[in-house]
Structure formats: structure tokens, C-alpha cells
Symmetry: C2
Subunit: 148 residues, 2 copies
């Protein structure tokens, strides 16, 4: 629980006192109170300048899904990969692109992407500002395979 902090304006109850419910406060520069900023993956040449933050799932939650926030710095990109598990992506910050198969789509705030099973895909940021999005996946999922 140490990675999550509750912000109670009108109550002194702790997260544990309220059965684990909590509010993760949004902070400047798209950070969340108590949520660490991690590398997207182990360092490799097939991705650049991507961070991720785990907002909900995979700790004491029982959700069958994980909610992550990914951010791609200018010039960065995720791996071009495919897998059986699906992605649901909602753009929160800046502008970028997604490649789905052979198609490339420009993305900005609110645009929502569904990546189907085995679809080769890659997110990129050709813009001069950070490009950030929520990405929701099933908690139990297969490993990505690089597309070469």
C-alpha cells in the first residue's frame, strides 16, 4: 500500500480503513501522488523514451485488468509488437501516432484506440511535446512478440 496515498478532504480515514478505496491525486506534469515512474521495458533498441506508471491493478486490487499511464517523450516510440491480449488506449496528453497493421493514425486528447488480438502496433511521438495515454489490459496476458 505504500505506493498509494489517500487524499481525504472530509475524513481522516486511511485507505485501509475504507476497505482499500483510494484517490490517486493528479499532479503537475502528469504524475500521480505516490505512483512511481518506471521504464516501459528493460532497455533495448526497439523502444525509446517511454515511461509507464501503474495506476490501478496488480497490487492489492482484485481487478481482472490493469490501468497504466504511458508517456512517450518527443522522438520516442514503443516496440512494434503483437500479442493475443487486447489494448484499450485513451489519450490524455499531447499528440502522437499509433500504427495498427499498415495504417497510421494521428492521435490527440480523448481519442480511443482498441488494439485487436495479434494486431501489429506501435505508438510514436513525432511531436515536440510529451504524448501520454492510458492503456488498459487484462491482468493475465501473453508476452508481446516483436514484429520484424
Amino acid at each position: 500500500m505504500s505506493d498509494f496515498s489517500s487524499s481525504c478532504e472530509l475524513s481522516a480515514s486511511s485507505p485501509s480503513a475504507s476497505a482499500g478505496s483510494r484517490v490517486l491525486r493528479f499532479q503537475p506534469e502528469f504524475r500521480w501522488q505516490g505512483v512511481p515512474v518506471n521504464d516501459y521495458k528493460q532497455p533495448a533498441e526497439h523502444w525509446q523514451k517511454v515511461t509507464r506508471m501503474l495506476l490501478v491493478g496488480g497490487r492489492d486490487e482484485a481487478t481482472g485488468f490493469h490501468v497504466r499511464y504511458f508517456e512517450i517523450a518527443p522522438g520516442g516510440f514503443t516496440s512494434l509488437e503483437q500479442h493475443v491480449h487486447e489494448h484499450a488506449v485513451v489519450v490524455l496528453r499531447g499528440r502522437g501516432q499509433v500504427q495498427l497493421g499498415d495504417a497510421v493514425h494521428d492521435l490527440s486528447f480523448g481519442d480511443t484506440v482498441y488494439v485487436a488480438p495479434r494486431e501489429p502496433h506501435q505508438f510514436r511521438n513525432p511531436s515536440p511535446e510529451p504524448f501520454g495515454f492510458l492503456c488498459i489490459v487484462d491482468a493475465e496476458r501473453d508476452q508481446p512478440t516483436p514484429v520484424v
Copy 2:
């Protein structure tokens, strides 16, 4: 598939041609291209002025989760209820409040709420502008029980 439209800038491929992947374009006033605006629930006195849009899940997707966008008009509120399934909420629009147990938290853009199993909860909009948020839930989930 008729409720979802793909927007391909650089390809003429249809959603089905790209194995079901798609981009739901964000539109003015927090609407998404091809996504219908539905009532939150059947009309009842325990909620007011709430709409919902299903962005991902529950159609041809195999995701174990659903991504919905809820919007509460000024003065509106969701049911005060509890259930075993958990909520992951990320605020996209305006300002509002969530009640978690006995605590009330003010919410605005980016704030992220985890509602734990059986936690009595209610979302409210005391502001003069629409209050909108993503709410992600497991696809298979129990029915809510009103808190009286």
C-alpha cells in the same frame, strides 16, 4: 461493428481488415465518433442527470474489462451503492466529488479513484459544468446494491 468507425489517415483498410482494431475519434463535448450516449440506468429517483458511453468492451472485443465514459450534468449524481466488483475511475472533464464510505473527495482532471469491493460509493456533480470520467470494470461483475 456499426457503432464503431475507424479513422485511417494513411490507409483505406477497414476495421475488419485490420482484425478489428479501431480508433474512436474524440469529438466536441466529450463524445466519441459512432458511440451512442445512453442513460446511466433505468430511470429512478436514486440517480439524476447521468449518461454513459461504452468505449471498449462488450461487443466484438474479448477483453475481460469494459471501458465506459460517464458524464454527470450539473446537480446530478449516481446511485449511492455498493457491489463486490471494483471500479477504476479517471477524471477527464470538469470537477466533481466521490463519496467513498464516509469520506468525500473533490475530484478534477486526472484524479484516479479505486473503489474497493463492497465500498459504498457515489459520484456527484455540485459544479456548474459537466463532470466526466472514465470508469473501468470487469466485464463479468455482480449487480449493485443500493445503500439506504
